[in-house]
């Protein structure tokens, strides 16, 4: 069962840290909920400005978002190493090239194995910022 998503009530201060929350379906077990912020097209597709989600890596985070947000899922890509075999190993997931993930407003990340920690927040934004 995938962990639940929690919408935050309002915009957090810049650099705010994640919070500990109880994960739905796991009473008594406190797990770290990190924050995801959506900007631009990803916000439009997600339908929310930001959410809490439990994820240890970027890949896990994207899998969770893909499962919970169908319109955003169109922009989350899972490459099968053999495209004709549904059971073949997968590479990714990754964001479509039109989107980018940024960690804490600092660096951009794409490796699905990128670890996410308790102080992290991930921004999903448009990779193309041409104006």
């Amino acid at each position: 069962m995938l962990p639940s998503l929690h919408c935050w009530p309002g915009p957090p201060p810049f650099g705010a840290q994640g919070v500990l929350s109880e994960v739905e379906g796991q009473p008594g077990g406190w797990h770290f909920l990190m924050r995801v912020e959506f900007l631009g097209v990803s916000r439009d597709r997600a339908g929310v400005d930001e959410i809490d989600v439990e994820a240890e890596t970027l890949g896990r985070l994207l899998m969770t978002l893909s499962a919970r947000m169908p319109r955003l899922a169109e922009l989350i890509v899972v490459d099968r190493i053999s495209p004709h075999d549904a059971h073949a190993a997968v590479r990714g997931p990754r964001l479509h090239s039109s989107l980018a993930a940024n960690l804490n407003g600092d660096r951009f990340i794409s490796d699905p194995e990128t670890p996410l920690g308790e102080r992290d927040r991930v921004l999903i934004l448009s990779a193309d910022v041409g104006g």
Binding site: S98, A127, D128
Partner: protein, 588 residues
């Protein structure tokens, strides 16, 4: 008499028009020259170099104003209905190439030329009418003082609705150094080409034509066009199609990269008021497309009794940069700039600069304060007619700083005289390099280096010399796109842009062009721009940024610091990697 073979996709001809006399010279364009510079910016810059007028003042009647088309214009390739306006800039005294999309490109090329080189000065306000290759000047004194849109309407009513018009507004008439040339509501916006046109006493150019060059492989042109159009509906262009460039505002604000109050901050507390979400929730909205474009990036919002096209650059320049978070004021300001025919970025940048000068006591205009929307609107109107303070601000921030004195040059938000667009240089340092070395000054359309900052290739707040090759790549790609001409909003659609661009050029021209050749062409076009600048007096110390952004951390983000030494090292490495072009390659 030798017969000159004209390549497919071209007329092999430029019209050189002297509006002092009304004389027209039809100048053959050799296929070798066209292949080496393609069209648009590349062809325009090369023709400008050939004129040998780089040392002249940009507003001298002898200084040419060039409209350059491309081999793709008139084809069904999406976004290809574009043209370049090339001249010396009255704002920077360096090369200026502004691009725009409209039916003017299609009708202009259909007049039977690949470029129009305009020199001289008409005896009175005139409209240059080019009707299927026949050229004449008509009086247009009745259009003097009209807005861009009103001029367009009047001339099409007079000449025929099938004419397409490029017009200047009061800004161009009054020599505002950042005046635009407007057509179909769009603008060749930056660098002051409207002032150059005004200096020739041309209120407008009207074009209509029927001459369409053949393509080498019609079936292939159509196949490529259909494929590209299909892909242009996909996620790579979703941002432009669904939200428009205005959506950049909150992204930049979140990353502390939104220039605010004349580049004093990178975060604007009222940015939410100007966001797409807020505009959409509170205003009527429609979407429009340029001719032949399948993306449809123009998001028109209701303001007053009309509408205005809202772009990120206008929101930033007339909003956060001036400390104004009232959307109604910002949209009205943008609309007013369009009517007057002045560049929103330079207008906002120059006004924000003046606001800070007032705040510091360097300028005695107490009514002009950050956050005062009525003051912004008043300043724009004064600029358009060059009255009062507007006469100074119409000169742009660099010249205004020179007149104001004190230490104001340090806070003038410009490079080579061109006001910096909405990318905070300290927070986006590959872009900072792109600004510093840009041939037309600080510009986000001639360098796409912000893409590098929005990637894993660099640490955007502490870039190293590794960033230089990426900055060069984006500059070269922009030069190629501006010469083909293809809209940059398509760039995410291409798997391999150079390979696909080569296929486009092959199908239209029949030349066996390769991706490698196009890469060389792009570098040659950048070199030609640099060559023009050298002839116009460029000095190496021009390739820098305002003192404000050097050595001083961005207040909202102390990690965003760009030292003078590091920028100098980046610029030096840029020139080392560029090398010195052989003048015979760019001019011979």
């Amino acid at each position: 008499m030798s017969t000159v073979s004209v390549p497919f996709g071209y007329h092999g001809m430029s019209f050189r028009i002297d509006v002092s006399t009304g004389g027209v010279e039809r100048v053959p364009l050799p296929g070798t020259l066209l292949r080496r510079f393609i069209g648009g910016s590349g062809l325009g810059v090369r023709l400008l170099l050939d004129e040998g007028t780089a040392p002249l003042d940009a507003l001298d009647p002898r200084a040419p104003l060039i409209f350059a088309f491309s081999p793709l214009v008139g084809s069904p390739l999406t976004t290809s209905a574009k043209f370049a306006v090339v001249s010396k800039s009255p704002l920077t005294d360096r090369i200026n190439d502004s691009l725009a999309s409209s039916g003017f490109a299609v009708q202009g090329k259909a007049c039977g030329c690949d470029a129009m080189v305009i020199v001289g000065r008409a005896a009175e306000w005139s409209v240059l009418v080019i009707d299927d290759g026949s050229v004449r000047l008509e009086p247009a004194a009745d259009c003097a003082g009209l807005t861009c849109g009103a001029t367009d309407a009047r001339l099409r009513s007079r000449l025929g609705s099938d004419f397409r018009i490029a017009a200047i507004g009061p800004g161009g008439e009054n020599g505002v150094r950042f005046a635009t040339i407007s057509h179909d509501g769009r603008h060749a916006g930056r660098g002051g080409s409207g002032a150059v046109m005004g200096a020739k006493r041309l209120k407008a150019i009207a074009v209509r034509g029927t001459q369409r060059p053949e393509w080498a492989d019609r079936q292939q042109v159509i196949a490529i066009s259909q494929d590209l159009s299909h892909r242009s509906f996909g996620p790579a262009t979703a941002k432009y199609r669904e939200l428009g460039t205005a959506t950049n505002l909150l992204t930049f604000n979140r990353l502390r990269a939104l220039p605010t109050r004349n580049f004093q901050r990178g975060h604007f507390e009222d940015a939410g008021n100007l966001s797409v979400e807020q505009l959409t929730a509170t205003r009527s909205k429609t979407r429009e497309s340029c001719v032949t474009c399948t993306i449809g990036c123009e998001h028109m919002y209701g303001v007053g009794s009309g509408t205005v096209r809202v772009e990120y650059e206008s929101l930033f320049a007339l909003g956060s940069l001036c400390g104004i978070g009232d959307a109604e004021v910002v949209l009205r300001a943008s609309q007013r700039c369009d009517e007057l025919g002045i560049d929103t970025i330079s207008a906002g940048g120059t006004i924000a600069f003046a606001m800070e000068c007032v705040e510091r006591g360097w300028l005695d205009e107490p009514w002009l304060a950050f956050g005062d929307g009525q003051a912004l609107l008043r300043a724009i109107d004064l600029i358009g007619v060059r009255q009062g303070l507007g006469n100074l601000l119409a000169e742009g921030s660099r010249r205004a700083a020179a007149a104001i004195g004190h230490h104001s040059m340090a806070i003038a938000p410009q490079v080579k005289g061109l006001e910096i667009p909405g990318y905070e240089p300290r927070a986006l340092q590959t872009m900072a390099l792109g600004f510093a070395v840009g041939t037309r000054g600080a510009d986000h359309n001639r360098s796409g280096a912000y893409e590098v900052d929005f990637s894993e290739k660099v640490d955007r707040r502490q870039v190293t010399l590794d960033a230089v090759r990426h900055a060069i790549d984006t500059e070269d790609r922009a030069a190629l796109m501006d010469s083909l001409i293809i809209c940059k909003f398509l760039r995410g659609v291409f798997e391999d842009f150079h390979e696909e661009a080569a296929a486009m050029v092959r199908s239209v021209t029949g030349w066996e062009v390769t991706a490698r050749e196009l890469r060389q062409t792009a570098a040659r076009i950048v070199a030609a721009k640099q060559q023009f600048n050298r002839r116009a007096g460029w000095r190496p110390e021009e390739d820098t940024l305002p003192d404000r952004v050097l050595d001083t951390p961005l207040p909202d983000d102390p990690l965003a610091t760009l030292s003078r030494e590091r920028l100098a090292a980046l610029v030096a490495e840029y020139h080392r990697q560029r090398g010195t072009a052989d003048p015979r390659d760019v001019e011979g």
